[in-house]
């Protein structure tokens, strides 16, 4: 972030033509219009918070993926691809697809059958108020923090690229989101997320197309990268993961498979309510199962518009970008690779489309955050702890107000981010603190009926505390510790002193989930289980998963899940 601040002195990268401005203005008018149109349909709590549970699998699936396509996602992972090469695609493939399929085919029936409105809501049913409250509070805080940091990152890029005033970008885009989400609730958020999904694709897709034409295809691009960065391997996904030193990420394959694929991704895609809420809006159980499966195909394709532009940047950009925290005047950081590629290929009209794709990415992410925040605040904190019984319209009204308040707190967080140069890194790490242990808690609760209420709470708390402790120790910032001893802790937790930031995050997630599971099991052994009758619909062995209506093979989620896995394997082999 300091890096981005560092380049504020640089002149704007591009200047918008009238046609570009028309594209931007039309977009804002359309999303607001949709919000006001949908307001009339968001009358009850079920409508406002769950979009009436009547979305088709396609709409829920696209919104599911789109809510994750925030501005940091687009700009950050394109920058990571420039920095680490195609290794960054692991976060879209191994680090997403199996988890999305697991959500759809295994976990979604429980969420759906229990008729819960949120992930903390499931914890309330399974473990009671303590675990649910802990999860709801951490989720609400982290979601709002992330939303604000996303907002700030987007505004800074708009300033660098277009010379727009930071305050203007922050207020116009966030107030637009506040208005349309407060008006139409999840209906509005989902409609606009689908719109934004298409916009992001058609705004960004020209970059890889024109980039590959310029380089003469994939092989031409690889040859140019090798010429520009001799001796470095940016285009293999697995063959350079044998040792931490063999790849630019400082990563080992065990970190990718176990830390990323089996814990962090599973935690994010199956328990982060921001994305799960979209699937809960599906109209029936088959749609709820199919939505993440369909979403997995789109997720698998996202590297085309995020990772490939980063790789093309390595091949065609005349300057070498530098780490974001080392940018000097006249230089560009990794995070600017996508706007730089946009400016390279896109003139008037297409430039406006590309810029609005970035803005749409931000707005989709923020709408996801505030709609999830409003639901968790209203149903998991306000209703159980502040006002237990109130008529439905009262909770809808609370949802609308909490949406607006959530946006304003996010704006405050965005300004806070300006004061703390590295807050973005910390918040991302903080977000990970709660997701990995939560996965252990939710999964154990679903598959093992013996797990007790106390075990759920203490396991979640222990996992979270262990994650925070590991992070502080590896950063050399644990109270009273000698900062020089951090390498020892990195060697211990991340298995090698050569493990870099992302590798450390993966092992931190893995061990925090293991801690959560171990503590949950131990506490379960010494506490009294709940009667079976209370756990029907919440635990695998006590739940009759409703059979889907008889449909052809092509309409079955499990069939498309198999196709997605096959495609994933093929991609790994191609880019091995």
């Amino acid at each position: 972030m300091t890096a981005i601040l560092g380049v504020l002195a640089v002149e704007r990268l591009v200047r918008l033509a009238p046609v570009d401005l028309a594209i931007v203005v039309f977009y804002f008018a359309l999303v607001l219009g949709i919000g006001f149109y949908l307001k009339r349909f968001a009358k009850t709590g079920e409508d406002f918070f769950m979009a009436g549970r009547e979305m088709t699998a396609w709409v829920a699936g696209l919104a599911f993926v789109s809510a994750n396509l925030g501005s940091l996602e687009l700009l950050g992972w394109a920058g990571s691809a420039y920095q680490y090469g195609i290794l960054a695609a692991h976060w879209y493939w191994v680090g997403a697809i199996p988890a999305m399929l697991f959500l759809g085919l295994v976990m979604m029936p429980f969420y759906y059958i229990s008729k819960t409105h949120s992930v903390p809501g499931y914890l309330q049913l399974r473990y009671g108020t303590a675990a649910s409250g802990l999860s709801a509070v951490t989720f609400a805080i982290m979601t709002i923090l992330m939303s604000g940091v996303n907002m700030y990152a987007m505004a800074v890029v708009m300033k660098v690229v277009l010379g727009w005033d930071l305050n203007f970008s922050i207020f116009v885009s966030s107030i637009t989101v506040a208005i349309y989400v407060a008006a139409g609730g999840l209906f509005s958020a989902i409609f606009n997320e689908v719109l934004q999904f298409f916009l992001i694709w058609f705004g960004a897709l020209l970059i890889p197309i024109l980039g590959l034409i310029e380089t003469g295809g994939w092989h031409g691009m690889v040859a140019r990268i090798q010429h520009n960065f001799p001796g470095q391997d940016f285009t293999h996904m697995w063959s350079n993961l044998g040792h931490f030193k063999d790849n630019p990420m400082g990563m080992h394959w065990t970190g990718i498979v176990f830390g990323l694929g089996m814990v962090q991704a599973m935690g994010y895609w199956t328990t982060d309510f921001l994305v799960v809420q979209r699937v809960l809006s599906a109209k029936d159980i088959r749609s709820a199962k199919l939505a993440p499966v369909l979403g997995s195909f789109f997720k698998m394709a996202v590297p085309l518009i995020v990772i490939l532009p980063g790789l093309l940047g390595l091949a065609v950009l005349p300057m070498h970008l530098v780490p974001n925290n080392e940018v000097q005047a006249g230089q560009y950081g990794y995070n600017e690779v996508l706007p730089l590629m946009l400016a390279r290929y896109c003139g008037p009209g297409l430039l406006g489309l590309g810029i609005i794709a970035l803005v749409a990415g931000f707005m989709a992410g923020m709408a996801g955050s505030v709609s999830a925040f409003a639901t968790v605040w209203t149903y998991d904190l306000y209703r159980p702890f502040i006002r237990k019984t109130a008529p439905d319209p009262h909770y809808v009204s609370m949802g609308r107000w909490s949406t607006l308040i959530g946006v304003f707190i996010s704006i405050g967080t965005a300004y806070l981010a300006m004061r703390f140069a590295s807050i973005m890194d910390y918040v991302q790490a903080l977000f990970g603190f709660f997701i990995a242990p939560l996965f252990g808690t939710v999964l154990l609760g679903m598959i093992w009926k013996r797990v007790t209420k106390a075990a759920g709470f203490w396991g979640l708390l222990a996992g979270t505390l262990s994650s925070v402790s590991m992070f502080l120790l590896m950063q050399g910032k644990f109270p009273l510790m000698n900062p020089a001893s951090r390498v020892r802790w990195v060697s211990l937790f991340a298995l090698s002193p050569d493990a870099k930031g992302l590798a450390q995050d993966m092992y931190q997630s893995l061990w925090s989930c293991v801690t959560c599971v171990v503590v949950t099991v131990l506490v379960t052994m010494v506490t009294k289980p709940r009667p079976d009758a209370e756990l029907k619909g919440l635990v695998y062995s006590l739940t009759e998963v409703a059979h889907e209506e008889k449909v052809s093979l092509l309409h079955r989620p499990v069939f498309w899940g198999g196709v997605a896995i096959a495609l994933l394997v093929v991609l790994q082999i191609i880019f091995w």
Partner: protein, 72 residues
């Protein structure tokens, strides 16, 4: 899209967005045909064919999902 509510399908809004953007980009591409912008590969006139693609997609979506159209 909706069983309980009679909501205009989201795909119609996608169509409107594509159609309007397609026209804007296509026309600007034609206008700059003889004076392409100072971008790499400007000689390919990407705005013209990309705008055209958006017009076709937008038109198909608008026609297929227009409000009031009866489902088959």
């Amino acid at each position: 899209m909706s069983e309980k509510h009679e909501i205009i399908p989201v795909w119609f809004f996608v169509g409107v967005l594509f159609l309007v953007y397609g026209v804007l980009i296509f026309v600007s591409g034609l206008a700059e045909w003889s004076h392409p912008p100072d971008t790499v590969l400007a000689e390919l006139h990407a705005p013209v064919w990309w705008g055209g693609l958006l017009i076709v997609l937008g038109g198909v979506y608008c026609a297929t999902f227009r409000p009031g159209r009866k489902k088959a």
